[in-house]
C-alpha cells in the first residue's frame, strides 16, 4: 500500500485518480506514525521548491523521511525535494541525493517553463521496466535536476541534458508527471508500487 506525504504542496487528486485506475491502494501520511503503515511512499509536489520545503518542514516529517528504507518516489517538485539544493528560493532541501536543482537558462534559446511531452532516455532500472527507450512523458517545470551519471536513471534534453529520473538506494525521483503521461506514466506508477528492495 502506497502512502502519500500530505504536506499541502499542490493537488494530489490526479495522482490518487491514477492509483485508483491502477487498483493500487493508498493512504495519506500526516504523521511519523503513518509512515509505518505503508510499504511505499510517494512525495508529490507542484509549485515552488523552496515553499514546498518549508511546508514539508512544517509537518515535522523531514528526519523520518530521510531515515526511510522502503521505496520512496518523489514526483516533480517532490523529486527536487530529495536533492541537495534548489536555486528556486535558494533553498536547502532534503539532501538525500547529492545533486542540485537548477533554473533553466533562457540564453539556451528555450522557453520556460519546459511544458509538454519530451522523450526520455532510460537506463536499465526496475522503475522503467516495460517502458521503451525514448518514450515521451509529460513535463511541466522551470527548474531541473543536473545530470549526474551516478544517480541518473533517465535523462531528457531541453537546451541541455538533465535528469528526468534519479535513484539513490531506496529513493527515486521523476521530474515528469507519471499521472499525466498516458499509459507509460501509469506503468511507472505500477512499477514503483511493485518495487521490492
Amino acid at each position: 500500500m502506497v502512502g502519500i506525504i500530505n504536506y499541502g504542496a499542490g493537488n494530489i487528486f490526479s495522482l490518487t485518480a491514477a492509483l485508483d485506475r491502477l487498483n493500487v491502494t493508498y493512504g495519506m501520511v500526516n504523521t511519523e506514525n503513518d509512515l509505518e503503515k505503508y510499504s511505499h511512499i510517494i512525495i508529490p509536489g507542484v509549485g515552488h521548491a523552496g515553499a514546498a520545503m518549508e511546508k514539508l518542514k512544517g509537518t515535522g516529517l523531514v528526519e523520518a523521511i530521510k531515515k526511510l528504507t522502503k521505496p520512496v518516489l518523489g514526483i516533480c517538485v517532490g523529486m527536487q525535494l530529495i536533492t541537495e539544493h534548489s536555486e528556486e528560493g535558494d533553498a536547502a532541501l532534503l539532501d538525500i541525493v547529492p545533486v542540485k536543482t537548477k533554473k533553466f537558462d533562457k540564453s539556451l534559446n528555450i522557453k520556460i517553463p519546459h511544458m509538454g511531452w519530451n522523450a526520455v532516455s532510460t537506463k536499465n532500472n526496475p522503475l522503467f521496466t516495460g517502458v521503451e527507450d525514448n518514450t515521451q512523458f509529460y513535463f511541466v517545470h522551470s527548474y531541473f535536476i543536473e545530470y549526474n551519471p551516478t544517480f541518473d536513471i533517465a535523462s531528457a534534453d531541453y537546451g541541455l541534458k538533465f535528469s528526468a529520473a534519479v535513484q539513490k538506494d531506496n529513493f527515486y525521483g521523476v521530474q515528469f508527471h507519471p499521472e499525466k503521461s498516458g499509459k507509460a506514466g501509469e506503468l511507472i506508477l505500477k512499477n514503483f508500487s511493485n518495487l521490492s528492495l
Binding site: 522557453k111 509538454g116 511531452w117 511541466v140 499521472e179 498516458g182 506514466g185
Partner: protein, 251 residues
C-alpha cells in the same frame, strides 16, 4: 526533443459538451468524460475545456465535471471560462485541473494573472487572448470577438508574460471559423516576442494548416475544435503527417 502539442478544445455547458461531435462508437456524445477519454486514446496531447455555462449553479457543475474527467484522463487538461478569482482556480486545481485559462477577467483585472501565478505557479496560468485586426492594429477582443478593448494584442501579451502568465492561447478572430488556416504571420510575430509557450488557435481546416503553423510560426501547440469533433481530421493521421514533415510529435 520537446514535441509539438495537438490540443482538441471542447465547449461545455451545464456539465455537457456542446457543438456537434460525431465520433463513432460514442455511447453519449455529450459526455465530456467519454469524449475526453476518446481523444486521449487517439493521441491528443492535452485537452482544453471551455465552460460556457451562464447559470448560478455553474461552479458546482463544473467542479463535478472536472473531477470526473480527472478520474479518467491520463493526459493534462486545462479549464477555462468564468474564472475571476483565486477561489475559482483553487477549486479547479483541487478537482484535478492541470491549468486554468483566463481571458476577460484578466483584461478587467491584470493583477489576477500575478495573483494566480504567485499562488499556484506560472505553469498553472494560461492567458487566452482573442485578437482581431482593426484599422491596421491587432486589438484584444472580449466576448468571443464581439467586444473590442483598448488593448493592443502585442502589448497585452507582453504585459501578461511579465505578470506571470505561463502560456498564451492566442485565437485569431479573423481566422476562427474560416477553416482557411491559422494566422501564421501574427502567431510568428508574437512567438518571437515572448519566452513562454504559445498555443495557436483559429482557422484550422486541414492537416496542412497544422504543418504550416508549426513550420512558419514555430508555435508550441495548435488547438482546434470542429475539425476534430466532426472527424474531418483524425489525430493519428495528423501526427503521422506532421512527422513526415519533420515536426516533432508524440505518437
Amino acid at each position: 526533443m520537446l514535441s509539438k502539442r495537438i490540443i482538441p478544445c471542447l465547449d461545455v455547458k451545464d456539465g455537457r459538451t456542446v457543438k456537434g461531435v460525431n465520433f463513432v462508437d460514442l455511447r453519449d456524445a455529450g459526455d465530456p468524460v467519454e469524449l475526453a477519454a476518446q481523444y486521449a486514446q487517439q493521441g491528443a496531447d492535452e485537452l482544453v475545456f471551455l465552460d460556457i455555462t451562464a447559470t448560478h449553479e455553474r461552479r458546482k457543475t463544473m467542479i463535478e465535471m472536472v473531477k470526473s474527467v480527472a478520474r479518467q484522463l491520463n493526459i493534462p487538461f486545462t479549464i477555462g471560462g468564468g474564472i475571476t478569482e483565486i477561489a475559482d482556480a483553487d477549486a479547479l486545481l483541487n478537482a484535478g485541473a492541470d491549468k486554468i485559462s483566463i481571458n476577460s477577467a484578466a483584461v478587467r483585472n491584470p493583477k489576477l494573472i500575478e495573483d494566480l501565478a504567485k499562488t499556484f505557479g506560472v505553469q498553472f496560468v494560461v492567458l487566452a487572448v482573442d485578437t482581431k485586426h482593426v484599422n491596421g492594429k491587432n486589438m484584444v477582443h472580449l466576448n468571443g470577438g464581439r467586444l473590442i478593448t483598448e488593448l493592443e494584442t502585442e502589448n497585452w501579451i507582453k504585459q501578461a508574460e511579465d505578470l506571470g502568465a505561463g502560456e498564451i492561447l492566442l485565437t485569431s478572430m479573423d481566422h476562427d471559423g474560416t477553416k482557411a488556416g491559422f494566422d501564421c504571420g501574427l502567431l510568428g510575430k508574437i512567438n518571437q516576442m515572448i519566452n513562454i509557450p504559445i498555443i495557436a488557435s483559429g482557422g484550422a481546416g486541414s492537416m496542412e494548416h497544422f504543418t504550416e503553423v508549426f513550420q512558419k510560426a514555430n508555435v508550441d501547440a495548435a488547438l482546434a475544435a470542429s475539425v476534430f469533433h466532426y472527424g474531418e481530421i483524425l489525430i493519428p493521421d495528423l501526427k503521422q503527417e506532421l512527422r513526415r514533415n519533420n515536426i516533432p510529435v508524440r505518437i
